[in-house]
């Protein structure tokens, strides 16, 4: 079975590596989009440094607001374990990615043993306008969450109304069931607001943290951040310890420089600042669109060459084909994961290492 192609021609892996290395070495402005586990991310960043390239996660657009919450505001956070064991009141903020739903539902059947309570109260703050639904509305009903919303209010507006309402301020639009929440909050020992990124209204994340801060003046409260994508958040954390910065970092003069606008890879491709695109993802659902005539080197979990790619190399999926280390929102940190279906496909980190070694010094 072939694992490497130059154009549409199957070649030995070493030949594909050599060809890709030549393209990378001759590029004036290579850019890297990637989606990998911790070890893949480590190798990608090391390669970017060697090339003087810029890198971003393939879900960099979704990460922007989640990263900005930390780089610009901060906040008060807790862990999924504490939510399960201590939170006697849970307020779900808007839509939460489907990958987290099982965990949220599992809390409903687990006692908050650290507060000695057998049950907990649920609320769901949501936008009062049509929006994509991941199924969170259905799950909220299932756990008996009281709905909080206001006529015509977006999620960001609803968060603002909630903060104002809890602070006793008058608002132009009433938030339905606010009094129920006030009563529940008065009784709660450790309320937690569960949220994910809100790409349309980034300031709503800061507003929510303001609300949590308000509550902590006199009682305890916290929030649980559930990233839009666990693997992407793991890449953020890895990038931060390796370079000091999240993705959308480049090495223009050897040292890392973080700039979410300047190193927006899609923008660089669109505006033809980049002259080579190295795209890396072993996710089955990952979509890749080649940008114009900019040469593409693709590392993908594929049986066939990627259309229009100058070089395609098949790579293994972390956690499926090989053991991996990933970020997991189930525990709020990294975990070691055994391969579920071990295979001989080359690992991203291994291919990147070979690519790096094939580059001229």
């Amino acid at each position: 079975m072939s694992v490497a192609w130059v154009g549409s021609q199957a070649v030995p892996l070493s030949d594909a590596i050599q060809h890709a290395a030549k393209l990378l070495a001759s590029s004036r402005c290579p850019v890297i989009s990637f989606d990998a586990d911790v070890h893949g991310t480590r190798s990608v960043i090391a390669l970017a440094e060697k090339l003087g390239a810029a890198y971003d996660h393939v879900r960099g657009r979704e990460l922007l607001n989640e990263i900005a919450l930390f780089t610009q505001y901060g906040g008060m956070f807790t862990t999924p374990g504490e939510v399960r064991r201590r939170a006697d009141l849970i307020v779900v903020i808007g839509d939460i990615p489907a990958s987290h739903h099982d965990m949220i539902l599992s809390w409903a059947s687990a006692p908050a043993d650290l507060t000695g309570k057998q049950s907990r109260s649920w609320f769901h703050l949501k936008a009062n306008r049509p929006s994509g639904d991941t199924g969170m509305n259905k799950h909220a009903l299932k756990v008996g969450a009281v709905s909080l919303s206001a006529e015509g209010a977006s999620l960001g507006a609803a968060v603002a109304l909630l903060r104002a309402g809890l602070a006793g301020k008058r608002t132009a639009i009433p938030l339905a069931n606010l009094d129920s929440l006030k009563t529940a909050l008065a009784d709660a020992e450790f309320p937690v607001f569960v949220f994910s990124g809100n790409p349309e209204e980034p300031t709503s994340l800061a507003m929510l943290q303001g609300l949590v801060s308000d509550l902590n003046r006199s009682k305890r409260a916290s929030s649980l951040f559930l990233p839009s994508d666990d693997a992407a958040w793991g890449a953020v954390l890895t990038s931060v310890w390796m370079t000091g910065f999240p993705p959308r970092t480049g090495f223009p003069n050897g040292a890392p420089v973080y700039d979410p606008q300047r190193w927006d890879i899609q923008r660089m491709l669109r505006e033809k600042e980049a002259d080579l695109h190295l795209w890396i993802s072993a996710s089955d659902g990952a979509s890749l669109s080649k940008r114009g005539k900019i040469p593409l080197v693709a590392l993908a979990r594929t049986r066939n060459p990627v259309r229009s790619a100058a070089v395609t190399i098949c790579v293994a999926a972390p956690g499926i084909d090989h053991d991996s280390v990933i970020y997991s929102s189930r525990i709020g940190t990294f975990r070691a994961e055994r391969a579920s279906a071990p295979s001989d496909m080359p690992e991203i980190a291994g291919v990147i290492r070979q690519l790096s070694e094939a580059l001229p010094c």
Partner: protein, 543 residues
């Protein structure tokens, strides 16, 4: 390869052989002069002093809280690139890579991350594995976790307590145990905002004192070389000296290490009700051979405080500079990130003086350790200036002239004329840390030691001498030359490896399945998860 270092002045208090002599290195170790063999490489170290590689016992260099601080403050890293001398955290060593390089350039070859949350152990070790050149180690935090507090509440046997501590050490791959504001983080989750040594965690009915004494005894029984590492209650507040004092008194014949004592050196005298109690604490330390301390010296400028003392960090939010913070109610301790700028005002001047008083008033350099509690008191890159302050009265006097006079009047600093000798520096930063941590293979220059060697060019500029080592060898490999890294290598994380009791493993499995709905392997990891060749090295327990 046989290496000869000749002509240098050897500072090696452990072996009592300070003075000019040759050192020989072979296969990564210091060896006696091989009879009849010629060196493959000889370094002429005339005009230089030669010490063992330095060991930092308390520096927050990796893990969840450190990484969150990086994420919170990208500008602190970016700002220094074009204007290195004048910007915040200008030499902070912010990434894992720069951390290893900057430590090595100063002649440090082993550094301990003193606050690893058990559930963040994998994350911490992944970061440490990316710190080049130096060896690392971790201390695991216990004392606010539900399992331990429940054992104490239920008056469980000391054997079971030891089994839990041993399981934690083994599963987190660490070198020792730390307790941080014992019980306070658990109480804070119940909205308790002040917590002292004899206060009780409401949900468990267990006092802070009881937690400390329980862990101290267990660590001692297990033969963990490093005594229980204690971050006491009431850090940073006026009157905290009383807390430190009762904690020191609680040693009761069993070793205990008190971390960053400077932050507890405060009394309530004077117009501002904030004064120095360093002299009292130093005397107490001098009179109690069971206690060791590190200082946590404050130096001036921008830094960020990173602590698993969530109660303290929550209360410090109002002092944040710049105005952004992260507070984490974690499993067990959690933590807080609060950026802070130490100014040469009354408070900053007093804190600076208290640290120096402790250094200069504690007589025994084997029991006082050189730290800034990086980055809490200052980034570790300020060490060279701190060496100069300890070794030069003139340097202290010059600095004192820049500071707040009314603060300094509340201290004894002006009357202290002691100057540390090179032998004392070598004890405090090499020999004593190795002994405190149970690292028999380093901290000295005797035959059989790992060839971790720092060579400094002797000069009048003490800070300059310690900022840029002339040569640094790590495991016999030349890694720094003239203050610049010339060779990158990967060090190891030093760990104890107690064999966990099988019944305790089963109990932990059941606990995690019942309480977290997850099997134990979600919280533990094999060595292979680090993906470095031999990422760990074992240190023996004493029993």
């Amino acid at each position: 390869m046989l290496i000869r270092l000749t002509g240098g002045e050897i500072i090696d208090p452990v072996n009592g052989q300070s003075g000019k002599r040759d050192l020989w290195i072979q296969d990564g170790f210091i060896v006696d002069k091989p009879e009849g063999e010629r060196a493959d490489k000889t370094y002429d170290l005339s005009g230089c002093i030669v010490m063992a590689g330095a060991i930092d016992i308390h520096s927050h260099i990796g893990g969840g809280n450190v990484n969150t601080a990086r994420l919170l403050l990208p500008e602190q890293h970016a700002a220094h690139l074009p204007r290195p001398a004048d910007t915040p955290l200008s030499n902070a060593g912010w990434s894992t890579f720069t951390t290893g390089c900057l430590y090595a350039q100063m002649g440090f070859t082993t550094v301990v991350e003193p606050a690893m949350s058990p559930y963040n152990a994998l994350h911490t070790h992944l970061e440490l594995a990316d710190i080049p050149i130096i060896d690392k180690a971790t201390l695991t935090i216990l004392g606010n976790d539900d399992f331990l507090l429940s054992l104490i509440r239920d008056k469980t046997s000391s054997d079971m307590m030891d089994d839990y501590v041993a399981w934690t050490l083994a599963s987190t791959h660490s070198l020792g145990v730390k307790v941080i504001n014992a019980g306070a983080a658990a109480a804070f989750k119940e909205n308790v905002r002040a917590f002292s040594f004899d206060d009780v965690v409401p949900a468990y009915g267990v006092s802070s004192r009881k937690i400390v004494k329980t862990l101290q005894a267990s660590v001692n029984r297990l033969g963990v070389p490093h005594p229980l590492h204690v971050h006491a209650n009431n850090l940073g507040i006026a009157g905290s000296a009383d807390t430190a004092s009762v904690t020191i008194d609680a040693t009761e014949g069993v070793p205990l290490h008190l971390a960053h004592l400077q932050f507890y050196g405060y009394g309530t005298e004077g117009k501002r009700k904030f004064s120095s109690e360093a002299a009292r604490l130093a005397e107490q330390v001098n009179n109690n051979p069971d206690v060791t301390i590190d200082v946590g010296q404050v130096m001036f400028g921008q830094t960020v405080t990173i602590s698993s003392d969530i109660t303290r960090q929550f209360l410090a939010i109002g002092n944040a500079n710049p105005k952004k913070t992260v507070i984490i109610d974690g499993d067990g301790n959690g933590g807080g990130i609060v950026p802070y700028r130490y100014k040469k005002n009354f408070y900053g001047s007093l804190q600076w003086a208290v640290g120096l008083e402790l250094f200069l008033l504690i007589d025994d350099p084997w029991r006082v350790f050189f730290t800034t509690d990086h980055p809490n008191g200052a980034p570790f890159t300020s060490y060279p200036e701190l060496f100069e302050l300890l070794m030069s009265r003139d340097a202290r006097d010059a600095k004192t002239a820049e500071l707040n006079a009314s603060a300094l009047e509340l201290t004894t600093l002006g009357s202290l004329r002691r100057e540390y000798t090179l032998d004392e520096i070598a004890i405090m930063t090499r020999a004593a840390p190795a002994r405190l941590l149970g690292l028999k293979d380093r901290g000295h220059l005797g035959s059989g030691a790992i060839a971790d060697i720092a060579v400094y060019r002797r000069g009048r500029d003490i800070a300059g001498m310690f900022r840029e080592a002339a040569l640094v060898f790590k495991n016999g490999e030349l890694v720094v030359e003239n203050g610049k890294v010339v060779h990158l290598r990967w060090g190891k994380a030093l760990r104890l490896k107690p064999t966990p009791d099988k019944a305790m493993v089963r109990r932990m499995q059941a606990y995690h399945e019942e309480r977290y709905g997850l099997s134990l392997d979600w919280f533990t990891f094999p060595d292979s998860a680090i993906q470095r060749d031999e990422p760990f090295a074992e240190v023996s327990c004493s029993s």
